[in-house]
């Protein structure tokens, strides 16, 4: 089979030398027995465009241009960069030079012609890796989240007084059974999405060998039972696992393994070592602090609770902030468990008149702030979000309305620091306000809709709750919109392409 050359030509005006160079390379290549395809990036745009397949099948690549042509698509190919006149002057000599001197393009920091490789890429690595993981996670969040949403809506039942305070599935009826099953389906999705995310982030960093260790590590890090904690580590632990595995595997790849082992290095040696390594790290370095931290946090909340009875806004804001911090992770779970525990405990001891509603009410007010805040931000700042992100945001809207906080996870994972600040601030506002106004949440959906689908005692019926929660949502959306970084936007768009 004939060897194949691909080339790109370009010049300043895009009319003369672009085409002369293309003609020169085509002629010379044919004379020399090559199969050839030349893309002209001229004044009429790219013509005879090289496809991924063309490049994949090429033995040799040449860029003959007087303006900067991004060589990134030739990564992994033998590439020679020259000027258009080099081709025009003597196409045959240029191809011969490429045969001898072309170097494989893509080593970071290496130089080909005048172009330095890896400048811009380097800056966006963190976001690029995370975005790649998120692009795989989004469909699962949406599928699981929306199914969970449907089941969740069905789970609220009226009590004898017609108040919607009971939550649960009546599995004796076939509908109840179905909804209970659907609820489980959603839960499975949420459980799987954490290792899925970690796996693809790690794969983006260090390719296939990193995937298995990252998925196993993230699963353990998110499993309460395995960690002997009250809750798993959530997506923050998954992010940690993914990066540890990614860079650990990269390190392992650098080792000069004996030749006889080399074929099994990527499929056996690295995955086994890395899985063992990350499992130990998760159990002893990540897991124990999570369990211990949750216990400490719980005791601290008890202390705050007993010292803040005169200023419920403080406890409310703290609970709210915790809810928004890791969206279903350990901090969020601690706040949620604390709220329910204090409520059932004081309710049993002192009855509805004197029970402590503050933590539960605050946690329920805060639960929908992150997903709804994200959604609102994508509506107001349309240009700052990619297409996939907007789709994920409409799903977050659905989830947020029924109090499923996980809808915001893809956005937070993409840009943890800014997004956590935004979510914590908004959730704290919502939690603080409902506590300050004395709302009492008996049961129902933790979202603005809770005022209708649920039972909440509040100063102004229906309105107070909605206003408090909406204020939190607005704060979150505002911070997201104003702090959104270009690097994240770019990474999101690149991953889509």
């Amino acid at each position: 089979m004939a060897k194949k050359i691909v080339a790109v030509t370009a010049c300043a005006a895009g009319i003369a030398h672009t085409y002369m160079a293309a003609e020169a390379i085509e002629k010379a290549a044919k004379e020399m027995g090559y199969e050839v395809k030349v893309e002209t990036d001229g004044a009429m745009g790219a013509e005879n465009k090289l496809t991924d397949e063309d490049i994949e099948n090429a033995d040799l690549a040449i860029i003959a241009a007087d303006i900067k042509i991004d060589p990134i698509r030739f990564t992994g190919k033998k590439l020679l960069i020259a000027s258009s006149n080099d081709a025009i002057n003597d196409g045959k000599a240029l191809i011969e030079k490429a045969e001898k001197e072309a170097t494989v393009f893509g080593k970071k920091g290496s130089k080909v012609g005048k172009i330095q490789i890896g400048n811009n890429k380097e800056k966006t690595t963190f976001f690029t890796h995370v975005m790649s993981g998120i692009s795989y996670m989004i469909p699962m969040v949406i599928a699981a989240g929306l199914i969970l949403t449907i089941a969740n809506l069905y789970a609220f039942q009226k009590d004898d007084l017609g108040r919607i305070v009971k939550w649960g599935f009546d599995t004796k009826t076939s509908m109840g059974m179905l909804m209970s099953n659907l609820f489980q389906v959603g839960q499975v999705g949420f459980k799987l999405m954490i290792p899925l995310f970690a796996g693809f982030v790690a794969m983006s960093i260090a390719d296939k060998p990193a995937m298995a260790p990252a998925m196993i590590g993230a699963y353990i890090a998110n499993d309460a039972e395995l960690l002997h904690a009250k809750a798993g580590g959530g997506f923050i632990a998954a992010l940690l696992v993914a990066f540890i595995v990614g860079y650990f595997v990269k390190l392992l790849k650098k080792i000069k393994w004996p030749k006889i082992f080399q074929p099994i290095v990527p499929i056996m040696i690295i995955p086994v070592i890395a899985t063992l390594f990350i499992s130990l790290v998760v159990f002893y370095v990540i897991g124990q602090p999570i369990a211990a931290g949750m216990d400490a946090l719980y005791s601290w909340l008890n202390w705050v609770n007993s010292h803040s009875s005169s200023a419920p806004i403080i406890l409310g804001a703290i609970i709210g902030a915790m809810m928004g911090f890791d969206l279903g992770g350990p901090v969020n779970k601690t706040a949620l468990i604390f709220g329910t525990a204090v409520f059932t405990d004081t309710m049993a001891k002192y009855g509805p008149m004197h029970a402590n509603f503050v933590p539960q009410t605050a946690s329920q007010a805060a639960i929908s702030v992150a997903p709804l805040g994200v959604w609102l931000a994508t509506i107001i700042w349309k240009k700052k979000f990619s297409k996939d992100e907007k789709t994920a945001a409409s799903a977050a809207l659905g989830m947020g309305l029924v109090g499923v906080t996980e809808g915001a996870i893809p956005f937070v994972a993409a840009d943890p620091i800014r997004m956590i600040i935004a979510n914590v601030a908004g959730s704290a506002v919502a939690g603080g306000l409902v506590a300050a106004t004395g709302c009492k949440f008996y049961g129902g959906i933790g979202s603005p809709l809770g005022t209708f689908i649920g039972y909440i005692e509040q100063p102004i019926p229906f309105i107070t709750w909605i206003l408090c929660v909406s204020a939190g949502i607005a704060v979150t959306a505002l911070i997201i919109g104003l702090t959104r970084s270009d690097a994240v936007i770019e990474a999101a768009k690149n991953v889509e392409e």
């Binding site: 009319i15 672009t18 002369m20 003609e23 020169a24 009429m44 025009i88």
Partner: protein, 148 residues
């Protein structure tokens, strides 16, 4: 070839220029006279600016100077034959005897730009170059270009 872009009137025998600068000046004059540019001086500057980036001198005494400056009104091709060989820093260092000049409008139609790019490709054809170099009859030259 599209008559709007090239016709026999676009051939010019430059008998006086001896340097590239003089040649560019007379080309600017000619292109403006024919109504393809509204400023001989701007077109001249455009040619010079292009030349600074890299030589447009090709080989066997042929050059393809061009400009896409703002004065260009429409796409055009001009054939200039010099009586004196002109130093052009060409790829083969030979003095230039023939210039194919292109006027390129900033927002020209794809169709017209394509025609101009065809000329560029045709220059790589040895036979075409020989016929342009060896003939001085405007009709023969014009026919050769029309066949592109």
């Amino acid at each position: 070839m599209d008559k709007e872009i090239f016709n026999i009137e676009n051939i010019f025998y430059d008998q006086t220029s001896t340097t590239q600068d003089e040649a560019f000046k007379s080309i600017g004059q000619f292109v403006a006279e024919k109504g393809y540019s509204n400023s001989a001086d701007d077109f001249y500057k455009g040619l010079k600016a292009r030349e600074v980036e890299s030589t447009t001198g090709f080989k066997d005494g042929i050059a393809i100077p061009h400009s896409n400056d703002d004065s260009v009104i429409k796409p055009g091709l001009f054939l200039i034959k010099f009586s004196n060989g002109i130093e052009w820093n060409a790829l083969d260092k030979k003095p230039i005897k023939v210039a194919f000049v292109l006027s390129i409008p900033k927002n020209g139609s794809t169709e017209h730009l394509k025609l101009l790019s065809k000329i560029a490709r045709k220059l790589m054809d040895d036979e075409f170059r020989t016929s342009i170099l060896e003939n001085d009859d405007k009709n023969i030259l014009s026919d050769a270009i029309d066949q592109i």
